[in-house]
């Protein structure tokens, strides 16, 4: 690195605080337009007061021998002005190799030699540097203070001085300090102390092991201090998988303001509703309406995917919501355990996992989860029982389903028959050829077991397929009770 050219002026008139030219002179010094030596001389000899603004202007420009000389001189007798200057200047400089090289070792050495109070202030100066030795010194002091903090009647004054050290310990980002910082935040003690500890946690957030961090923050979210609880909640919301941890808090007794904050932080995952679809991948409009309304209610995108078509394109808003929620949920709006559920669905979920890996950077990727198929939900089965009984109003009825093969499917059909008190009838072929294995005298009501219009169901309305005296129930999704059920249940999904 080339150094800026210095303008050597023969006689520099030092200005002091309050002097109208002082600010401009310090700016010039800071920018390297004034020679350093006279100022260093002045400071070391005591001719110049070590005023914070002056130290701040010099900080980035000194070399190790100059630092050593200054620290050994009377200018370093009081840590006070150095600390003020360090707070202002050091944070931006601590990763600059030249600054580390000039300051770290001399400060480490100087700090141990100082009497207690001075040592504490020098420790704070030192703590801006990320270094295991610095972390160790900080840890020792914080550990001691934490014992003091939990003593009833601990003097606030002493702790007050130590407060800045907690965030600084967090900034050291040493995984081993997680229990100490979290302990300080959780244990009873002065509020200011606990909050400083939590800020330490915040400033090193990505460092702490999640198995320690998550439960601790969850406990803090229930804290009596709503300020602590609120910050803990907001930190949980920033973690990978944080949504899961937040959801677990929904049943906890939270301060009302914190509970509201939790509501604001909970982010519903985007849904993929899997439907059968019609020939050529056409998705019945009923599903699109459902998705739109659901998306509004959930505040998250909802896509409809037809088994008969390519996966729909997910846009940036979808991925953003997925990232924020930490998950994508696939909900099969399928009614029977047929081939689709057994074979197509796992493939479809795998497809979303691959798409997720492609769309989002590693580590930020949400998980892709799926729910059991709708037909298997006990609540769905009992709702349908009610719906059909009500529509039948005491008349005999029959329900028609797509033919199914295999033992599992047969067991499922028997189960439904038990729940609804009526065997289902497989509808073999759509169109006029549809043969219903039904007693012509039989049912007054036919229930096609499908959410949306299908060819089979539509053919029931064709001339001559069923006697005019039979009533055919419309597609289930057209029934208000079914629609409400689905909206409510799907809205409540995480």
């Amino acid at each position: 690195m080339r150094l800026p050219v210095r303008v050597e002026t023969a006689a520099t008139r030092w200005t002091v605080e309050g002097d109208p030219e002082h600010w401009a002179q310090l700016q010039a010094l800071r920018r390297g337009r004034l020679p350093l030596q006279p100022w260093l001389e002045g400071l070391s000899s005591g001719a110049l007061q070590p005023e914070p603004e002056l130290l701040a202007a010099l900080w980035a420009q000194l070399k190790r021998p100059e630092v050593e000389r200054l620290l050994a001189s009377g200018a370093a007798a009081d840590a006070g002005p150095w600390l003020v200057a360090a707070r202002q200047e050091l944070p931006a400089l601590v990763a600059t190799p030249a600054v580390v090289e000039a300051w770290l070792e001399p400060l480490l050495e100087h700090q141990v030699q100082c009497p207690a109070r001075q040592a504490r202030q020098w420790l704070e100066v030192l703590a801006a540097f990320q270094d295991p030795r610095v972390a160790q010194r900080l840890r020792r002091v914080v550990l001691e203070a934490s014992r003091l903090a939990i003593e009833p009647g601990a003097s606030d004054g002493d702790l007050q001085e130590l407060l800045p050290l907690l965030p600084l310990l967090g900034r050291q980002r040493q995984r081993q300090d997680a229990p100490l910082l979290l302990g300080c935040a959780l244990d009873p003690g002065p509020l200011a102390w606990r909050r400083a500890a939590l800020e330490g946690v915040a400033l090193g957030l990505s460092t702490w092991p999640l198995p320690l961090l998550v439960p601790a923050l969850q406990r803090l979210a229930e804290d009596l201090s709503s300020a602590l609880a609120a910050e803990a909640l907001d930190l949980l919301a920033r973690l990978p998988q944080g949504q899961r941890a937040l959801r677990a808090l929904r049943t906890r007794p939270l301060d009302p303001a914190v509970a509201e904050r939790l509501q604001r932080r909970l982010q519903n995952s985007p849904l993929v509703l899997v439907v059968h679809g019609r020939q050529g991948g056409v998705i019945p409009a009923l599903y699109c309406d459902l998705a739109q309304q659901l998306s509004r209610r959930r505040g998250a995108p909802v896509l409809v995917q037809a088994l008969t078509a390519e996966a729909p394109a997910a846009d940036a808003a979808f991925w953003l919501a997925a990232q924020r929620a930490g998950s994508i949920t696939v909900v099969p709006l399928l009614l029977l355990p047929g081939e689709h559920v057994r074979r197509d669905l796992p493939a479809l979920v795998a497809g979303w996992r691959a798409a997720t890996a492609g769309a989002l950077p590693e580590g930020a990727g949400p998980s892709v989860g799926w729910r059991p198929f709708l037909g298997s939900w006990p609540a769905w089965q009992s709702l349908l029982g009610d719906v059909v009984r009500e529509a039948a109003a005491g008349r005999p009825f029959a329900w028609l389903h797509h033919p199914l093969q295999g033992q599992l499917a047969q067991r499922f059909l028997h189960h439904l028959a038990r729940v609804w008190g009526q065997e289902g009838v497989p509808a073999v072929e759509p169109g006029p050829a549809l043969r219903l294995a039904l007693d012509p005298e039989g049912p007054a009501l036919l229930v096609p077991y499908g959410l949306a219009p299908s060819r089979t169901a539509e053919s029931l309305n064709m001339e001559g397929v069923v006697p005019p005296s039979w009533e055919v129930l419309p597609p289930l999704l057209e029934l208000p009770s079914v629609r409400t059920f689905l909206l409510d249940r799907l809205e409540a999904l995480p």
Binding site: P4, L203, E231, R264
Partner: protein
């Protein structure tokens, strides 16, 4: 031999900050303490992310809001970001009709930037050596006195200047503004386009070189060129490209545009910019610099009729421009409930709810939010402008915003004023609060009082943004804050026609 590049110039030349965007999530995971100084304090500003030494680890994000226009759904995204920072979170309305958010962790950046993108917001190139937020008439499109709607012009300039082939490494920051009404005072910008006639056609005359700093303060001067609205983007690009190539990169305190104009001479500068412009296929006409801006800016506060019959805007005073998450969410909700969901920000750090139908006014005026952000503030609060101050800025010599608010409130308790008086408060000689534009300008300082160094202000008087613009001049070089209220009280009585309220003794 090429002169040595300064540290900052080296940092900018090595790598453009925009390249950091895809790495934000990773940077957050590894921790900001590991970032080198140049990335932390310089390059991140290309993404609008500001490291704040006063609150290490709690970052600021400055947006771009062209012409100060923002919609409720956008404001909600910002409110949410601030809300997530709890007690650390806050926001400021800035003197460039812009918003900056405070208290964010580096972890917040990647999700915030994507969320902003989803609602059409950007924070790109809003800090450091970049063309800053482009300002325009805050009442554009709704102003009964409007000469030109500045919104599409401002948008087009921004689009041109953020395009891939536009400069990414200027020698210094660059302020651009477009005037659209008789009160568009804009001479504090490096480049200002003021509405002006030429042969009976309304276009813009070009003003260059305005800026404030610790060393020098200048109002922009006429460049002697006239442009049609559709030429503004190309011309702005030409000015920037020339500045990028020829501006001073050796001394940062001599690098604002006016120094380049000085160095070349106005004539030669004009020729050089014209050559650059013609390289882009542009041609500008000569002009005498006469323009249609004739008075100081309106505050726009209170209920104001729009150009559109039956609609109003309602200007609310946001004391010293300071917002919190709740206020931001509430502003968005109020704008949606009573207006069209659109809001405007003014250079005086206030906010307007626009497109409010006549019949909705009463309900709007009854909103609880207006207890806090009054449509009819006192004559000092209405136009009190303030920079950040020492809670967030390490240069600040005084807590600027809190002092400004407390002093103004106390003065309004004590005094009756016949008209508004514009006070501009700034924490240090860097002059971000534009003290030279205030009728009364106040600048943080230190002074000796009872043998102690104490917080103080320098007082400047006489800034004028009318037909005959003037910068305020130094009046007092150090009034300790403890004495400030009585000193200002007397000034206001002697010079601005204030009277003591009977109740106050």
């Amino acid at each position: 031999m090429a002169p040595a590049l300064s540290k900052i110039e080296q940092a900018k030349a090595e790598r453009c900050g925009l390249e950091l965007e895809p790495q934000l999530a990773q940077l957050a995971a590894q921790g900001w303490d590991t970032l080198d100084e140049a990335t932390l304090t310089i390059r991140l500003k290309w993404l609008g992310i500001f490291f704040r030494p006063v609150t290490p680890g709690r970052f600021m994000v400055r947006l771009r809001l062209p012409n100060g226009v923002i919609h409720a759904d956008q404001l909600e995204v910002l409110a949410d970001a601030v809300d997530r920072c709890g007690e650390w979170g806050s926001a400021d309305i800035t003197t460039r009709q812009n918003i900056q958010l405070r208290g964010l962790l580096l972890e917040d950046m990647a999700p915030l930037l994507s969320a902003m993108q989803a609602v059409g917001l950007t924070s790109r190139q809003s800090g450091h050596d970049n063309p800053r937020n482009i300002t325009g008439n805050p009442f554009a499109g709704i102003d009964p006195e409007e000469l030109v709607d500045t919104r599409p012009l401002v948008d087009a300039i921004q689009a041109r200047l953020l395009a891939d082939d536009a400069p990414r490494n200027l020698p210094r920051k660059f302020n651009i503004a477009v005037g659209g009404a008789p009160d568009s005072f804009l001479l504090h910008n490096d480049l200002a386009f003021l509405p002006a006639d030429r042969d009976g056609e309304l276009g813009f005359t070009v003003m260059v070189g305005g800026f404030f700093s610790a060393q020098r303060n200048e109002l922009a001067i006429p460049l002697g060129l006239w442009l049609r609205g559709d030429q503004l983007p190309g011309f702005s690009l030409a000015v920037l490209r020339h500045f990028e190539r020829c501006g001073n990169r050796q001394a940062r305190n001599k690098s604002r545009l006016m120094y380049l104009v000085d160095e070349l001479g106005l004539e030669a500068y004009r020729e050089a910019v014209l050559a650059e412009f013609s390289g882009l296929g542009g041609l500008a006409d000569p002009h005498d610099g006469q323009h249609r801006v004739t008075r100081a800016p309106r505050s726009g506060l209170g209920v104001q009729p729009q150009r559109q019959a039956g609609l109003h805007w309602v200007g609310l005073s946001v004391p010293v421009g300071r917002l919190d998450a709740e206020a931001m969410a509430e502003l968005a909700a109020v704008a949606r409930r009573h207006g069209s969901g659109e809001l405007r920000l003014t250079e005086a750090q206030n906010v307007l709810i626009v497109n409010v139908p006549e019949e909705g006014l009463q309900a709007l005026l009854a909103e609880p939010l207006l207890q806090r952000f009054s449509p009819t503030p006192g004559p000092l609060m209405a136009e009190a402008v303030s920079c950040t101050g020492n809670r967030y800025c390490s240069f600040a010599l005084i807590p600027t915003k809190t002092t400004a608010q407390a002093v103004v409130e106390e003065l309004e308790r004590r005094l009756e004023l016949p008209h508004a008086v514009r006070t501009h408060w700034t924490g240090c000689p860097n002059a971000c609060g534009q003290p030279y534009m205030g009728e009364i300008g106040l600048m943080g300082a230190k002074a000796r009082h009872d043998g102690q160094m104490v917080e103080a202000v320098k007082i400047f008087l006489g800034g004028d943004m009318g037909v005959d613009p003037k910068l305020a001049e130094l009046h007092d070089k150090g009034v300790p804050l403890v004495q400030l209220v009585p000193v200002l009280e007397n000034l206001l009585i002697e010079r601005y026609g204030a009277r003591r309220r009977p109740a106050a003794s």
